[in-house]
Amino acid sequence: MKGQLSLDFYISILVFILFSMYIVLQLVNIIPTYSREVNVQALRSEAYQVSELLINDPGKPIDWYSGYADNQINRIGLSNHTIYVIQRAPGDYVLSNLTNVVSFAKITTLNSKCRIPGGYNRLKSWLGITDFQFILTLNDSSGNNLLTCLPPTIDARSTKISVDRIVSFSDNRYGVLSLQVW
């Protein structure tokens, strides 16, 4: 009987192969889902960071809306820097951390800059966005649209991540800034 394999051995090999195949198939299914979820999480994180930059950063220069050439603007933000200057002592001013207050002038300027040809891509570079697209809207509490910025073409099939931020204006009204990224 030398050289012959036993039935036990065949069965063991069969069980081993079946389980190995099962594990491989599971991994093949899991890895794309996992990878997609990781990408979505990264997008959510980016969307939040961009929304935070928009509503709580005044941009650089802080008065970027007032007649600067595009190549002089390093970063844009909608935060209203004009009302959060506090005086520590005569002649000694400092920016206070007054969050969630946005400037009408900056909103208007951003809106117009986005609408000119190439404006969307310029806006992306000012926000430091390189690898995803976005749609930005801002409506006041009465439903009036104050800002819409979107790319020339929108991929309708892609999964879009939304972040809504509630903001106030300097005239004591409020609105909702919505950012969709994909």
């Binding site: 036990d8 069965i11 069980v15 889902t33 979820e37 969050t99 972040v163 509630i166 106030s168 409020y174």
Partner: protein, 443 residues
């Protein structure tokens, strides 16, 4: 029978079962869970609080949840359940359990049933209670008139466990009535004092500057900032000195301090005529925000007209430095324990030069906020109460009242998140408090 094959098959079956079990444990069904939904709710709550603060409505929303709801409906598109809590300041609706008579209760409600401070109405409701069964849904207990409280020490302690305070307006008949009463010695921290001369006037002991932990700080601040309501109650011809008031007949009321009445005529929302020297004629016209003085015995006492709510109601606050005509008439003097020179004395009666003092209000906070106040009435309570006495009582009650967050019933919330924010306002009085906004998923 040869059974060799049977054992191998049993081993095989056992191995297969073991493999499946191990696989189930090591490789459970894959699901990727994130808490982005929770995070977005927390971000939303923070944005809501910051935005309402920026647009100047947070204080209103903090104390009036029905005003907050339309705002939430406008900015929160998700189906979320919301609730709010405030802590660290007096509530907008304060219930005081009082062992008062019906007459005393009516007086208290008339004088201090509502105060308007920092643009919010604070109602102080007085409900009858007994000391052996203190009304549990109240924020403070007011004891009026002498009573042997020793049998009720446990009830009062239990009542104070949830943050409620106690104010008593009591004169003691004998030294033993103070010293043998454990409520007085252990909770109020007072004991009998040897006789001192009858004071000629009563004054505040000023808290240490910049030391908010000083027990006197808050009631002292309340007294000098809390607007007390005065109502016009008699339609009279416009008095001499009527000035620009266009109405021939207007409502007159009496503002009473230092046992003297000063007539005030409420012309309209911008014009209030005040008899500042008690001679019966209007000396000047004031509008909301103006300061004025009332003169008694040649000494001016300072006030501020905080609000003209309507042509029937105005709100006036006291301003430093105010002295009461002496209201400490107790046959038995009391003093704080253990140190007679304790910093717990809020008001003291003085003879000339204040060489000898007689406590009129003693605070304690070793158990909770409690205050003993001398019974200011020499003619049967509440007479001769004035706005000065009532302002003092209101200040003590607000200081003693429960300032913990009220528990909210959250029956239909599956998961919720509470976002806290420290807010401060300073219109009539500096008021800092903690605001909690809760947002949760209903399913």
């Amino acid at each position: 029978m040869n059974n060799k094959g049977v054992v191998a098959i049993i081993e095989l079956i056992i191995s297969l079962v073991a493999l499946f079990v191990a696989y189930g444990i090591l490789f459970p069904g894959f699901s990727y869970q994130n808490r982005w939904g929770d995070a977005s709710v927390i971000i939303k709550a923070r944005d809501i609080i910051l935005t309402t603060d920026r647009i100047g409505t947070l204080y209103n929303y903090s104390f009036n949840a029905t005003h907050l709801q339309p705002f939430l409906n406008n900015v929160v598109k998700q189906n979320l359940v919301s609730w709010t809590e405030t802590a660290g300041t007096f509530r907008s609706s304060i219930t005081v359990a009082c062992n008062c008579t019906v007459n005393e209760t009516a007086f208290l409600i008339y004088w201090i049933g509502k105060v308007h401070v920092n643009d919010r109405d604070v109602t102080i409701d007085f409900v009858p209670t007994t000391l052996d069964n203190i009304y549990p849904f109240s924020d403070a207990l007011l004891i009026v008139g002498y009573k042997n409280t020793n049998p009720y020490i446990q009830q009062i302690r239990d009542y104070m466990k949830s943050g409620n305070g106690v104010v008593e307006i009591v004169d003691f008949p004998t030294a033993a009535s103070v010293d043998s009463d454990r409520v007085q010695t252990e909770i109020f921290g007072i004991g009998s004092q040897v006789a001192v001369p009858v004071p000629t006037y009563d004054e505040f002991m000023i808290p240490a500057v910049g030391v908010t932990s000083d027990i006197k700080y808050t009631p002292y601040k309340y007294f000098y900032h809390l607007p007390v309501t005065m109502k016009g109650n008699a339609l009279t011809p416009c008095p001499a000195g009527c000035g620009n008031c266009p109405y021939p007949t207007i409502l007159r009321g009496d503002f009473t301090m230092r046992t003297r009445n000063y007539s005030i005529w409420i012309c309209n929302s911008t014009g209030v005529l005040i008899d500042t020297n008690g001679d019966g004629s209007a000396d000047n016209s004031y509008s909301a925000g103006n300061s004025f003085s009332l003169v008694d015995g040649g000494t001016p006492y300072n006030f501020k007209l905080n609000y003209v709510e309507s042509n029937t109601t105005i709100d006036i606050s006291f301003r430093p430095v105010f002295q009461f005509t002496n209201f400490i008439n107790s046959p038995q003097n009391v003093q704080p324990l253990p140190n007679p020179l304790s910093s717990r004395i809020l008001v003291r009666g003085c003879t000339a030069g204040c060489s000898q003092t007689k406590p009129g209000v003693i605070l304690n906070s070793s158990v909770g906020n409690v205050a003993w106040m001398a019974n200011f009435s020499s003619q049967g309570w509440p007479a001769p109460a004035g706005h000065d006495h009532m302002e003092l009582i209101a200040s003590l009650l607000l200081w003693a009242s429960n300032k913990n967050a009220q528990q909210v019933s959250l029956g239909n919330v599956k998961t919720g998140f509470l976002t806290s924010y420290i807010n401060a306002v300073n219109k009539d009085m500096y008021e800092a408090y903690k605001f909690n906004l809760g947002l949760g998923f209903p399913f």
